[in-house]
């Protein structure tokens, strides 16, 4: 019995903090070889970068924990953003437009959830369908063209379209914390709370671990899955709105391929792709690893072709060294 306990402790340390150790190493190495990496302004812009993928990856974590996958997040990101932009251009109040776009994102996620549960489609196929469809709809609405100068057209709630994406909050009157990073932290705390402290979280793990067993103890596994996809849709929409607020324009190709970065972050964080096992703390480490790599390699002027290969290697090493694999 003692042996089991000891083994678990070592495994637990590696499994829980492996991604953080990797992150710390990366940051230290980059700080040494590239002094401009460690400047506060660079680190803050890194955080702003990370927040878009982070929000999406939190939703992805929930979906993957419930034994699913959500390929549609990039498309939801774009379509919600387009909906919001179109509403703004039509003269709608910004607060209302944002709310409607967030609800739309949630519903788009729920549709994926319904296809998986009621439609009995495999999650990969179901969200491949919604991914393609939503992207198409975004292009139809905009006729493929970008919508620009949103801030100028936003009536009321200037904050949303002038500050949300690009704004900062001053800390100690010196450090500028980007607003998206604050949104990211709040979202993290909420998702962390859900997963560790609520019955809903327990039911997500149970559903992903063994849906048959969960159903027999009275868990409505369909409802849990639909909820996970809906939250994923909501968070993707939120990320999309932050993005157009920052860019001051929206285009239908926004967020293309974002689902892959989100899945990579979840995998880096040690969450099992077959559901039931994983943590959102791991996901945030994964998100930061990807962001640090992107940022660091850019600063070092590494060609973008090489960047992708290096990213792939880092993910491979991290996932291979995951003791719980």
């Amino acid at each position: 019995m003692n042996a089991l306990k000891n083994k678990k402790n070592i495994g637990a340390v590696l499994g829980e903090y492996g991604a953080f150790i990797a992150l710390a190493l990366l940051v230290i190495v980059l700080s040494i070889i590239e002094p401009s990496f460690r400047t506060p302004s660079n680190l803050m812009s890194l955080l702003r970068q990370a927040s878009f993928n982070g929000l999406i990856a939190f939703g992805m974590t929930l979906v993957i924990l419930s034994d699913g996958i959500d390929l549609s997040v990039g498309s939801v990101f774009a379509l919600s953003a387009i909906i919001c932009a179109e509403l703004l251009m039509s003269g709608m109040n910004a607060v209302l437009a944002v709310l409607i776009a967030l609800i739309a994102g949630t519903l788009l996620g729920a549709i994926s959830g319904l296809l998986v549960t009621k439609g009995r489609l495999q999650p990969f196929i179901a969200t491949l369908i919604t991914m393609t469809a939503y992207r198409g709809v975004a292009k139809i609405i905009t006729e493929g063209k970008p919508i620009s100068q949103l801030a100028g057209n936003a009536s009321g709630g200037d904050f949303f379209f002038k500050a949300m994406g690009k704004g900062n909050v001053l800390l100690f009157e010196t450090v500028k914390i980007p607003i998206p990073a604050i949104v990211l932290v709040v979202a993290f705390l909420i998702v962390y709370f859900i997963l560790t402290k609520t019955t809903f979280g327990r039911r997500i793990y149970a559903t992903g671990s063994n849906a048959k067993c969960a159903k027999l103890v009275g868990v409505n596994t369909n409802k849990i899955k639909i909820a996970c996809y809906s939250i994923s849709g909501f968070l993707a929409a939120l990320a999309g709105l932050l993005m157009i607020s920052r860019l001051d324009s929206a285009q239908p190709t926004l967020g293309d391929g974002y689902e892959l970065d989100a899945i990579a972050a979840v995998a880096l964080g040690g969450t099992s792709m077959s559901g039931g096992r994983g943590k959102v703390t791991g996901t945030i480490a994964g998100v930061l690893i990807i962001a640090v790599l992107n940022n660091g390699l850019n600063i070092m002027n590494v060609s973008s072709y090489y960047q992708e290969v290096i990213k792939a290697i880092v993910i491979l090493v991290a996932v291979l060294s995951d003791s719980k694999r």
């Binding site: 019995m1 003692n2 042996a3 089991l4 306990k5 000891n6 083994k7 678990k8 402290k197 609520t198 019955t199 809903f200 979280g201 327990r202 039911r203 793990y205 149970a206 671990s209 063994n210 048959k212 067993c213 969960a214 159903k215 027999l216 103890v217 009275g218 868990v219 409505n220 039931g276 096992r277």
Partner: protein, 495 residues
């Protein structure tokens, strides 16, 4: 083939599972290997077949010292292990499974389907089993899949076959067919190591018995020189008293009544009732529809007609949630796929069924959860290193105790147990029987589905027998015997 294992030690980490264990197998005998779960039976056999390496000790096969590095080497030497967890590929056909890795080929590695089919058929015929060789494994019953596994061993002309709980999932007739084959093999000089918890079978079939306890060799006896009580005592090192403990409960009002319950094809017009404090045993052959009737009552299988009354009131149960709300607890047949989250801790498993008890407005209370789990581990005497022990690493008996704990804390009025002691050792079995009795004494209506006739006869107040989706009789346990139950289970009538 003679096999002698002497002074075998084996540890996993600091956990010593075998200590000076030994075993002697003679030519052409059926040798039972018994011991409680965790006694080291499977580990010892896995060392013999090269799955694990021993830390110390020697193995002689026909007088020569051997040490197989992997199961393939052992198989080449003629020693085959048939595992309890079936080792079959569910999406392939019977024939493809039989010839996996040893396909008969024509030129250029092209499979000779015809030859393989003929050989597969020949082996099936020798076994006296009627399974189409081109059937897909997943379409077969567990019993049939087990038969295919045994055929697979026969294919390599094994001289020693080790079977780990082979009859756990077999019907009566399949078990008989298996015993016939085993007897025939014995006559041909094949030796069989038979690991089982079923005392009756061992006494019917085996020549000798070796008993292990806590990884140690306790003794080897001729079956004809020993009684079941002796075996039990050797296994647990103490007397456990009566095999089926007496129950102190008074039978009260009717709690559950089922009227005219019918499924599209699996069962028809099921009528029965259970009263408070009563244990209703449910017997029948595999595939008779016992499990399906229980699944339907629990709302996990749709029915075409029928009514369910709980405490006199008709209830509508369309899913497990409604069943739980109506006061039904259901301990399923297969704890590994339906009863437990194997990769999760004891705590998470117990709490999952009792989330409303360990939370306030959907927020978990750490204190309440810890108290409930602590109570569960103590009351059910679950052997573990703590609440965080992963259920997949528990022995069968302890896993079953977790399942019992999680359901019993939901305070059910009706408790359905489907094969509650399958794959559980004698000590744990008795503890499970005690739990059933305690529940009945508290006024819970208990329904116990079981394939073990002695258990049904020993534990029930009344026995309901199912045959091909029909209830052929409900009889008082007093005055019932195996013959009566089997008559009903095979569709006969009691005179």
């Amino acid at each position: 083939m003679n096999i002698e294992m002497r002074g075998i030690d084996k540890s996993f980490g600091s956990n010593q599972v075998l200590k000076d264990a030994g075993f002697l197998l003679k030519d052409g005998e059926v040798h039972a290997l018994m011991g409680e779960n965790g006694a080291g039976k499977s580990t010892l056999m896995k060392i013999l077949t090269g799955v694990y390496t021993k830390d110390a000790g020697t193995i002689y096969v026909d007088g020569q010292e051997v040490s197989y590095k992997n199961p393939q080497e052992a198989e080449k030497a003629g020693i085959v292990f048939i595992y309890q967890e079936l080792n079959v590929l569910f999406d392939l056909t019977v024939e493809e499974n039989l010839f996996m890795g040893k396909e008969i080929t024509k030129k250029f590695g092209v499979c000779d389907k015809k030859a393989m089919r003929a050989k597969a058929q020949e082996i099936m015929d020798r076994m006296g089993v009627k399974i189409p060789v081109n059937a897909v494994m997943s379409d077969l019953s567990v019993g049939q899949q087990q038969m295919v596994e045994i055929c697979k061993a026969l294919m390599v002309d094994a001289k020693v076959i080790i079977m780990d709980e082979p009859t756990a999932a077999l019907t009566q007739s399949e078990t008989e067919a298996l015993f016939e084959v085993m007897n025939a093999l014995r006559k041909k000089g094949v030796s069989i190591v038979y690991i089982s918890h079923r005392m009756e079978e061992i006494f019917e079939l085996c020549d000798r018995i070796t008993i292990l306890r806590d990884g140690q060799y306790i003794g080897t006896r001729n079956i004809c020189d020993i009684t079941m009580d002796d075996v039990v005592q050797m296994m647990i090192g103490r007397e456990i008293g009566e095999r089926f403990p007496k129950r102190e409960s008074s039978i009260g009002e009717e709690v559950l009544r089922v009227e005219g319950l019918s499924h599209e094809k699996l069962f028809r017009d099921v009528n029965f009732s259970v009263r408070a404090g009563e244990v209703l045993g449910v017997s029948g052959l595999m595939g008779a529809g016992r499990t399906e009737i229980m699944q339907a009552i629990f709302g996990n299988l749709p029915v075409v007609s029928g009514k369910i009354f709980i405490e006199g009131k008709e209830v509508s149960i369309k899913n497990p949630r409604q069943a739980i709300a109506a006061g039904i607890g259901f301990i399923t047949e297969d704890r590994k796929t339906e009863g437990l989250l194997l990769e999760k801790s004891i705590a998470e498993n117990i709490e999952l069924a009792n989330l409303n008890k360990v939370s306030k407005r959907s927020v978990l209370s750490r204190k309440q959860g810890a108290e409930l789990v602590k109570r569960g581990i103590e009351e059910f005497r679950i052997k573990c290193f703590g609440p965080e022990h992963e259920c997949g690493n528990l022995s069968g008996g302890n896993q079953q105790k977790v399942v019992l704990a999680k359901w019993i804390y939901t305070d059910p009025k009706i408790l359905i147990l489907d094969e509650p002691t399958r794959g559980v050792d004698i000590g744990a079995k008795k503890e499970i029987y005690n739990v059933i009795n305690e529940m009945a004494a508290k006024g819970v209506a208990v329904i116990m589905v079981s394939s073990e006739l002695p258990e049904v006869l020993g534990m029930s107040d009344r026995i309901m027998v199912v045959h091909e989706g029909h209830i052929t009789g409900i009889i008082d346990a007093e005055g019932a015997d195996q013959a009566k139950v089997m008559t009903l289970a095979t569709g006969g009538c009691l005179a």
